[in-house]
Symmetry: C2
Subunit: 408 residues, 2 copies
C-alpha cells in the first residue's frame, strides 16, 4: 500500500470518525431524527425535463449509444456545451474548446495532469474544498493557501504576494464551498490584471481555473461573474452534480478560453489526460442527456428558501455567519464558549469541540478545519426544509449549554 495513501488515511481519520459517529447516531435515532447538515449531496430530484429526456434516450436506443466515442466526448454534446458556456462567459467558443469530463472532480484532476510540472504551485483561497490538495498532489503539484478577506472575498494582495515562478494556476470557486461567496466581475478583472502583470514580468502566465459547479445556484438577483472573458489563460471546470442534481452520475466538462496560450495543444493535452487517467470519456448516456438540457436547472428558489430558513435558525441563537450569496452552504463562526477567554475563541481552536457538542443535540456539520479554517463550521442546507426548521429547538438547547446559559 502506497505510503502517501496510508498517511492520508490516518490523517483524515478524525473527519472519518465524525462521519462514522453520525452514521451510528442515525442507526440509534433513525435518520429522519438527525439534523444532518454535513454533506453536500443535493436532495432535490433532477428536474422533470431530465427524467423525460432520459426516458426518450433510453427508448430511442440508438445503436452504439453506449459505446466509445472520442475521448473528448460527443461532438454534438461539446457543441451544445460550447454554446451554453459562450453565453455564460461572454466569449465565443466552439466544440474544440470543450472536453466532457467525469464530474468536476475528474475535470480538475485532468486539468492538473495536463498543466502541472513537478513542484508547480496552485494558489487556493482559504477556506477551500480540501480535496484540491489531494488533486494537486496526485500530479506532483503543491497547494499554496492564501487567506481571503474577512468577508471571504478574494484577497487580491495576498494572491499577488503568493505568485512565484512556480505558480502554474490560481484556483477559484464561485459560488464558494464552504462560504457561499460569489465573486464580482470587478474582482475577477482585478485578479486578471494581477495575473497578466505577473505574466508580463516573468513570461509565465498562470492559468486561472474556475471550479464552478454552483454557477446557477445564486440568490436575490446576484449573478455569477463570467471568467473566460476576464483573462486569456482561463479554464472553467463544472458539472451537473448540483445544477441538475446528478452528483452520482459523474458528468461534467472543461471549457477553455479561446485566447489561451497554445489553446489547441492545451485541448490535446486535456484529452490525453482524460484518456490516460482512466476516465477515457465522460459517461455516454449522461452526455446525451445534458446535451439536451443546457437550459435546465433544479428549482433554485428552493435553495433560497432553505438558506433563509437556515439564517433564521442561526439568527435565533445569535450565531454569526457569512451571508451566503450562492451554493447551498452556510459558513458560521463558532460562538464564544463559557469559561473560554475571548481571545481563545478568536484563535479558533473550538470548531472540533463545537461540532462534537452539536452532535449531542443530533446536529451534524463539518468543522472549519476541514476547509483549512478553524473556528468556523459549515452547514449544508441541501436538505428538506422541515428538517432545517425542526433543528431550531436543538440549536437553542445546544447553544444555551455551550454558552452556559442553562444547566444541562
Amino acid at each position: 500500500i502506497a505510503k502517501e495513501v496510508k498517511d492520508a488515511l490516518s490523517s483524515s481519520s478524525l473527519i472519518r470518525k465524525m462521519f462514522e459517529e453520525g452514521a451510528a447516531l442515525k442507526k440509534i435515532h433513525g435518520a429522519e431524527n438527525i439534523f444532518d447538515f454535513s454533506l453536500g449531496n443535493p436532495d432535490l430530484s433532477p428536474p422533470p425535463a431530465f427524467h423525460k429526456t432520459l426516458l426518450e434516450l433510453v427508448n430511442e436506443e440508438t445503436p452504439g449509444v453506449h459505446g466509445y466515442m472520442p475521448n473528448a466526448g460527443y461532438p454534438e454534446t461539446r457543441a451544445a456545451i460550447a454554446e451554453k458556456v459562450s453565453a455564460e462567459h461572454g466569449v465565443l467558443i466552439d466544440s474544440s474548446h470543450v472536453i466532457m469530463s467525469v464530474g468536476a472532480a475528474g475535470a480538475l484532476n485532468t486539468v492538473f495532469k495536463a498543466i502541472l510540472n513537478p513542484a508547480d504551485e496552485v494558489i487556493v483561497n482559504k477556506p477551500y474544498f480540501m480535496e484540491y490538495r489531494a488533486y494537486a498532489k496526485n500530479h506532483r503539484g503543491n497547494i499554496i493557501e492564501v487567506e481571503t478577506e474577512d468577508d471571504f472575498n478574494l484577497n487580491l494582495e495576498g494572491i499577488r504576494s503568493a505568485l512565484s515562478n512556480e505558480t502554474a494556476a490560481v484556483l477559484i470557486n464561485s459560488p464558494n464551498n464552504p462560504t457561499g461567496r460569489v465573486y464580482t466581475s470587478e474582482t475577477l478583472k482585478a485578479l486578471s490584471a494581477i495575473l497578466s502583470l505577473h505574466g508580463e514580468k516573468t513570461g509565465r502566465y498562470p492559468y486561472l481555473i474556475a471550479d464552478e459547479p454552483y454557477r446557477e445556484i445564486v440568490f436575490n438577483g446576484i449573478k455569477t461573474a463570467p471568467v473566460l472573458n476576464a483573462y486569456k489563460n482561463s479554464i472553467v471546470v463544472s458539472s451537473y452534480s448540483k445544477s441538475l442534481s446528478l452528483a452520482g452520475e459523474r458528468i461534467g466538462y472543461i471549457a477553455l478560453s479561446p485566447d489561451a496560450d497554445e489553446a489547441a495543444l492545451l485541448a490535446e493535452a486535456l484529452i490525453y489526460a482524460t484518456r490516460v487517467l482512466g476516465f477515457v470519456n465522460a459517461p455516454a448516456l449522461m452526455q446525451r442527456c445534458v446535451e439536451r438540457l443546457t437550459k435546465e436547472t433544479v428549482n433554485i428558489a428552493v435553495y433560497r428558501e432553505r438558506r433563509d430558513a437556515f439564517k433564521q435558525v442561526l439568527d435565533a441563537v445569535d450565531i454569526h455567519y457569512a451571508e451566503p450569496e450562492g451554493a447551498f452552504y452556510i459558513f458560521a463562526k463558532v460562538p464564544h464558549r463559557k469559561g473560554r477567554a475571548a481571545q481563545e475563541t478568536d484563535a479558533g481552536e473550538d470548531d472540533l469541540a463545537f461540532c462534537e457538542h452539536l452532535k449531542k443535540y443530533l446536529i451534524l456539520g463539518v468543522p472549519g478545519a476541514g476547509f483549512g479554517k478553524k473556528g468556523w463550521m459549515r452547514f449544508a442546507y441541501c436538505v428538506n426544509d422541515k428538517l432545517i426548521k425542526a433543528s431550531a429547538d436543538a440549536f437553542k438547547k445546544a447553544l444555551a449549554a455551550w454558552r452556559g446559559e442553562m444547566i444541562r
Copy 2:
C-alpha cells in the same frame, strides 16, 4: 502545459496520424467501404436484458437514484458483484472486497495510486496494452516488460528474473489484448508459486493484478482461469465495456482476494484513491443496471463466428497468426516482403510499412509497435461479419502486391 504530457503527445503522434488518415479515408470512400479493424469498440448492442433493466430503472425513478452514494459504490451493487466474482474465482468474497470503478482503466489507475510508491515496478507481459505504461507513470511507477513465449503464453522464467525489491505488482491480461491468449490455471498456479517464493525471500509479496474485461469472451469451451484463489495478494479489475458492450458508460469494478495482506486497509486505500483521483464513484445508474445483470453477456457466439471468418481471410493469404482463444483480436505476423532478406522480416521492422500498405487497400489495423511488439499487427474483429468477409479480396490484392506476386 506539463512537459510529460507534451512529450507523450508528440511521441504518440505516429499512431494518431494513422487514425487521422483512417478518418480521412472514411470521409473519401464512406465509412462502410473501409475495412476498419483498428478499434476495440464493440459493435454488438448490449443484450436485450440491459435495455429492459435500464428502462425499468428509469421508470422507477427512485428518489436520490442519481445522487452521491458511498465512494465504493452502492452496498447492494457491491454485494451482487461479490457473488459473481466469488463464483468466477473460486473464493468467498463479500461486498467489502468489491469497489465499483469508472471502467477497467479507472480501476487500474485506482489500484496503481493505492499501491505504488515512487519508483516501484509493475511487470507486464509483451505484447501488451500500452496504456498500462501511462497508467503506472501517473502514479510514479515504472513498467518492466517481459517477453512472452513464442505462443504468447506467460514466460514464467522471464517474470521470475524480472522480480526485484521494487516489484509492486505483476499485471496480467487474460483473455489477452492483442493476442487473444487465455492463460491456464496451471500457468497461474506456477506464477503464484514464483511470487510466493519471492515474497518469502524478500518480505515483499507483489500484487498479482488481473485485468480481465474479456473474461466472458472465450471460445470453444475454453474457460478463463480463476485468479483470486491462486494467489493471496491478487486483485481483479474488470468492466462491462466488452461483456455488456457498455464501453462508453464507464462501469467496472475492483475485487480483492480476501486473503490479501492488510485486506481491509487495502480496500480503504482503494476507496480513498477512487475519491481523490476524481472518479468519486462509478456512475450511479449504471451501477444499478449491472447489479441486476450479473448473469448477462452479449452473444459470445457472434464473436466466435467472426473470429473464424477472420481466420479464413488470413488463411487464404497465408498470414501466420496466434490462434485467438478469447477477446476479439487476432494478432498476425507481418509476412515476408518482396526484396527483403528473411532475417530483416524476422527482425520485425516492417509492421508500420505493412500497416501503411494495407491502408492503400482500405484495410486498417494497428501495428504491433503499438503493443511493444514489432513485426506483428492487431486486427480487431468486433465489427460486422460482412465487413470481415468482404475484406478477403482486399487482403488478396494487398498481399500479392506486398509479396511481389503480381504487378500493381
